[in-house]
Every structure is written in structure tokens, then in C-alpha cells.
């Protein structure tokens, strides 16, 4: 399987998905296009482009030739992003960032403990002070007001 064929197949699938999902939106007519009209045109375009990629993708690079040397770091960072997304409003900005930065500096990058603590507390509390207190950009405080 080549990269182009895989991505072409994905684009076609997405196009068909949009065609299916669009059925709840009125299509209208050419003179009065409804909310489903333009998405349908785009979905058809996506299917066509996906098909071209599949048809012309025979000689493209193979999927298994892709290398993922950064996968471990990428997975950890992605996990941190998900953690922030799910918990920042519940436990507050400062605590979320303390945990996230502590994990990235201390566990992933194995930076010295004192430096990890300085960086983690400095950035978490410092950015909260800068944005929330100084610039009046409200950041989540969480259930404990922290």
C-alpha cells in the first residue's frame, strides 16, 4: 500500500461520510441553495480527488517505509494535550500545567529535579499571573479555586 493510495482512500471515505451525514440538511435548489448544497459539492470534489490519488498513487512511497523515531515523545505529548483538554476546567490551569510540565520536564526529558521544579512552578504560576492577573485573560481555576 502506498501513501497516496492510503490517503486517497481516506479522502474518499470522508467524502462518502459527508454525503451520508448531509442527508439531514436540506439541499434546496440551484436558485435557492440550502445548507446541504455546498457541503455536497465539496464532498463530491473530495471523492474525485481521492480517486485521482488512488489511481495515480501506484509509484508513491510505501506506507511501511515511513519512519516514526519520535513516536514515543509524540505519544507522550499527545497524552498531555488530551489530559489538558479533559481536566483543565475541572482541576484548574495551574494544577493541570504543574502536572503536565512536571511530567514533560522531569519524566520525559529527565531534567534535573531542581531545574524541573523551577521550570514547572515558574511557567505554570508565572503564565497564570501574566495572563489571568496582569492581562485579564481569564484562565480556569477549577473546583478548588486554584
Amino acid at each position: 500500500m502506498t501513501i497516496d493510495r492510503l490517503s486517497g482512500a481516506f479522502l474518499m471515505l470522508l467524502g462518502f461520510f459527508v454525503v451520508w451525514e448531509r442527508r439531514v440538511l436540506p439541499l434546496g435548489s440551484a436558485s435557492r441553495p440550502g445548507p446541504g448544497y455546498f457541503p455536497l459539492l465539496l464532498a463530491i470534489l473530495l471523492i474525485l480527488l481521492g480517486a485521482i490519488l488512488i489511481l495515480r498513487g501506484k509509484d508513491a512511497e510505501k506506507v511501511r517505509a515511513l519512519s516514526w523515531p519520535e513516536a514515543q515523545h509524540a505519544a507522550a505529548i499527545l497524552g498531555c494535550c488530551l489530559f489538558i483538554t479533559l481536566f483543565m476546567e475541572t482541576i484548574g490551569y495551574r494544577l493541570t500545567l504543574l502536572l503536565t510540565l512536571g511530567f514533560l520536564f522531569g519524566v520525559m526529558e529527565k531534567i534535573k529535579v531542581w531545574l524541573t521544579l523551577v521550570l514547572t512552578f515558574g511557567f505554570s504560576l508565572g503564565t497564570f499571573w501574566l495572563f489571568d492577573s496582569l492581562l485579564r485573560v481569564p484562565l480556569p481555576r477549577g473546583g478548588w479555586g486554584f
Partner: protein
């Protein structure tokens, strides 16, 4: 001419307040830092710092953000010359001769010529912007919905052609972006589209989370953990002044780079990157000693550095006059303007003269500040490069989160940023360009609205798009670009775009 002069006086009166001068200076300094640090481009920089402008008045905010934008172009040359690492993509060509000069102990003159070229190009381009944007806006006042649809379609197709790589892949990214732009409440009928019960998606997918995800988070995902090889050549400050011969050799390339950069900057696509490649190729082609290129030719620094600065300001012409961003960075600037209640377009210059002319005046001053500050402060910026990436990337992640969350105080936006980060990471692996996707997202509502209006005007006849001369001309240009883009698919021969993409990767 007299009106332009009066407006410029108004602009300088706006900027010459202590507050606005301070914001201009801050923007230039932050921009330089953003340009110096590899992995933090102007796009991520502007997006991350957008929340810091919420409390400012509109003019100050735009002055600050524009300073970051063109300051980054200055900063990018420092890492290229001293480390052979482009701080941002537009400095790739500067690496070749700039680093070769640094290895010969001529880092100082290379930095000085890069700064001087950037200053001259930046200043002259503002003159171009000042004279070109108002008449273009006046001309665009006659555009109806069909012209707007065709202009935007043409812009997107030109972008996908000029971006490099496969035009089919680029067009798919545009379609994907337009599709993402369909999410939310339909502005004409009030229907919720593709929002799956998530109320926060009613306003649609925001540009800031998409841009930060695709450019900021995906960069972190792709580069974190990679080995750091950072040999920083220290510039010899006593040798900062270029020789007479170096100055003489740089005048022509700076002039040509400025004109080329400004003109290419107006065209959609990765203009600031392309302009540097074109400028470098031109200088080598017309040089009496082309063999010096790659060995430390000053022309190889002066031309591209002038071109990328001129292009970054040329890109503001269609943004401010037509409301059409030509790349992801102008798109984020557009979003920033909209956050502050300003919609760029044909009426912008007429209705918001203080903001427009204040911005123009701030760019004259900002370019001068960058020239005066950057060279003496190069040592400080070099020290920034000594911060290890393993310390830098968690910090960038933190600013990404704050930047995205603060726009709407929404965790859904942070989720979108994460999803876009993963998508951007996978797209990079699969050789897809992400800039067309961002442009698709930002232009989707305008294209759809104008498209439906145009069809309503014509009673459902698509002929309206080819019957009106201006829209027909835009469509013809788009068609030519598509055919040119498909040429390598048919003849199986590499065109300049593919060669450019390969050169960027090496």
C-alpha cells in the same frame, strides 16, 4: 498623492504615542525571537500571543501583531547564518551562503547585510503597500458575489499551485479545509451542520485552534526527542561592518529582491519562501561568478533576505484591500483583526483609516527599530539558541494551550487544537501541505455565502460565473494554474515546484 501624504501624517500621529511605540518595539523584539527560535514560526507566534492583545485597543493590537510578523522575517536570518538552521522556512536559502560566510569569519557582515537588506526591502514594500492597497480596494468595491467567489477560488487554486508538491494533494487539503469550515451554524438558514450536539461548535471551527494545531502542535510532535546538534558560530562584532566591496555587491541583489519579493508576495501561496528561491536563482544566473554561490557570496544573502521581507509585506496588500489572505500567516492576522472587530476588505481602508494608516506608519518605524536594535542585540538572540529544545518545547506547548483557550475560553478549542495537531503530524508524514487547509477553513464561510448569493442572483444558472468579465478572468487564471499543476502528472517530468519542494527538504 496629497491625500496619501495626509493619511500618512494621520498614521504617524497615531503611532507616535508612547504606548504605540512601545507596542511596535515589543512586537519587533518578540517577532525577532520567534524568528530566531527554530520550531516557532510567525504563525504559531502570532496565534500564541493573540490573547495578550485582547485588552489593547485595536490599533495597538494590530501594530503589535504586525511587528511580530515582519520581525520574524528579520530573526530567521540569524540562525541561518550562525547555525545553518533556518529559524523559519523563508530563511532556507540564506543558510547556503550566510553560513559559508560565517565559517570564513564573515558572520558579522552577513548579519549586517541581511539586516540592511531586510530594512530597505521592508521600507520600500511599505511604500508599495501604501500606494497599491487603496486603489485596489477602490477597484474591489465593484465586486459582486460572483466576482468574490471566483476571486477566492482563483486565490485558493493559485495557492495550491504555488505551494509546491502535488496539486491534487493541495486541492484535497483545500477541500478538507472548506469542509471543516462548514461546521457550525449555517449563516443563511440557521441550521446546525456537522456539530453533533456540541453547542460550542455552533460558531464553527476557529482559525486559531486550527492554525496552532497544524503548525505549532504538529511541529512539536514531529521534532520533540530528536537529537540536538547545535553548533553556534559566534559573530565577531568588530567585523560587523561590511566592506565597501560587499556593500557594492549587495545593492543590486537588495533592489531586485525587493521588487521580486513584493510582487510574489501579492500572489497566494508560500510567497515569502518562493521569493527567496527565485531571488537566489536570479542572482546566481546573472552573476559574473556563479561559482562563488555556495562558497559565501554576499549576493546569496542580500537577495533572499530582502525578498522574504518584501514578500511578507506584499502579502498584506490583498489581505487589507480585498480581505483575502494569501497564506496561513496573513490568515491568522485576518483572524486577529476580526477578533478586534475589524473585517478587512474593500471598505476597511475607508472606514478604518486610523487603523490602516497607523499600521502603515508603524511598519516604517518598526523596520527602522529592527535595523537599529537587531545588530547590537544579536548576542542576546544567539543566547536564546542555547536553550535546549527539550526545555523549549514544553514551554511552546504551554503557550499554545493558553493562546487557543483564551480566544473563546473554550476547552473545545483546545480539543480541536489537539486533533489538528495529530492531523498535521500525519499529513506531514504523508507529504501533504497544511497551509491550503488553513486557508480553506478561513475562506469557507465567505465562499459559501457568496456562492449561494451568486446562484440566487442568477436564478440558479452557473453561467453567471463566466458571463461577467472579471469573474471569468479569475476562473480562466484558476484553470491555467490547474492545467500547469497537472502537467507533471501527465508528462511524468518534475516541474519547478517539485524541485523547490525537494530543495526545501534537503
Amino acid at each position: 498623492m496629497e491625500a496619501t501624504f495626509q493619511n500618512l501624517v494621520l498614521g504617524f500621529a497615531t503611532v507616535f504615542t508612547p504606548t504605540n511605540m512601545l507596542y511596535s518595539l515589543a512586537g519587533c523584539l518578540i517577532g525577532t525571537m520567534v524568528g530566531v527560535l527554530p520550531g516557532v514560526g510567525p504563525l504559531a507566534g502570532i496565534s500564541m500571543l493573540l490573547p495578550t492583545t485582547f485588552g489593547l485597543d485595536t490599533t495597538s493590537a494590530i501594530i503589535l501583531l504586525a511587528g511580530i510578523y515582519y520581525g520574524a522575517m528579520y530573526g530567521g536570518s540569524t540562525t541561518s547564518i550562525l547555525m545553518r538552521i533556518p529559524g523559519e522556512a523563508a530563511s532556507v536559502m540564506t543558510c547556503i551562503d550566510g553560513y559559508a560566510m560565517a565559517r570564513k569569519g564573515r558572520a558579522g557582515p552577513a548579519l549586517a547585510i541581511a539586516a540592511l537588506g531586510s530594512y530597505i526591502a521592508g521600507t520600500l514594500s511599505v511604500v508599495g503597500l501604501m500606494f497599491l492597497a487603496p486603489p485596489l480596494a477602490q477597484f474591489a468595491l465593484g465586486f459582486g458575489p460572483p466576482e468574490y467567489v471566483c476571486l477566492l477560488v482563483c486565490g485558493l487554486v493559485v495557492l495550491s499551485y504555488m505551494t509546491g508538491g502535488s496539486i491534487v494533494k493541495n486541492l484535497s487539503m483545500i477541500s478538507l479545509g472548506l469542509m471543516a469550515g462548514m461546521i457550525g451554524i449555517d449563516q443563511m438558514s440557521g441550521y446546525f451542520r456537522f456539530s453533533y450536539g456540541i453547542t460550542a461548535l455552533g460558531d464553527g471551527v476557529g482559525l486559531v485552534p486550527v492554525a496552532v494545531g497544524l503548525f505549532g502542535i504538529s511541529e512539536i510532535l514531529a521534532t520533540a526527542g530528536s537529537p540536538e546538534i547545535r553548533e553556534v558560530l559566534k559573530p565577531r562584532f568588530r567585523d560587523l561592518l561590511p566592506s565597501k566591496q560587499e556593500l557594492k555587491d549587495s545593492i543590486g541583489p537588495i533592489g531586485r529582491g525587493t521588487v521580486l519579493g513584493f510582487l510574489i508576495g501579492i500572489i497566494p501561496g508560500s510567497a515569502h519562501i518562493i521569493s527567496t528561491f527565485v531571488s537566489y536563482a536570479l542572482e546566481r544566473r546573472i552573476s559574473k561568478h556563479p561559482e562563488r554561490f555556495g562558497q559565501g557570496a554576499i549576493e546569496g544573502v542580500a537577495g533572499p533576505e530582502s525578498a522574504n521581507n518584501a514578500a511578507s509585506e506584499g502579502a498584506l496588500v490583498p489581505l487589507l484591500a480585498l480581505g483575502v489572505p494569501t497564506g496561513p500567516v496573513p490568515a491568522v492576522l485576518l483572524a486577529a483583526l476580526m477578533v478586534h472587530g475589524i473585517t478587512p476588505g474593500p471598505l476597511f481602508i475607508k472606514e478604518q483609516p486610523v487603523v490602516f494608516w497607523g499600521l502603515i506608519a508603524s511598519m516604517y518605524i518598526g523596520n527602522l527599530m529592527l535595523l537599529l536594535l537587531n545588530l547590537p542585540m544579536v548576542g542576546i538572540f544567539v543566547n536564546l539558541l542555547r536553550v535546549p529544545y527539550r526545555i523549549l518545547y514544553p514551554t511552546i506547548l504551554l503557550f499554545c494551550v493558553v493562546g487557543v483557550y483564551a480566544v473563546n475560553s473554550s476547552m473545545v478549542d483546545v480539543g480541536i487544537m489537539t486533533a489538528m495537531g495529530v492531523l498535521g503530524y500525519l499529513l506531514r508524514k504523508m507529504d501533504f501541505e497544511t497551509a491550503p487547509l488553513v486557508l480553506g477553513v478561513v475562506l469557507a464561510p465567505i465562499i459559501e455565502f457568496s456562492f449561494r448569493q451568486a446562484l440566487a442572483m442568477s436564478g440558479g444558472s452557473y453561467a453567471i460565473f463566466v458571463e461577467r468579465p472579471i469573474s471569468a478572468a479569475f476562473l480562466a487564471l484558476a484553470l491555467i494554474m490547474i492545467l500547469l499543476g497537472l502537467k507533471p502528472l501527465i508528462f511524468k517530468k518534475k516541474d519547478w515546484r517539485e524541485k523547490l519542494t525537494e530543495a526545501e527538504k534537503t
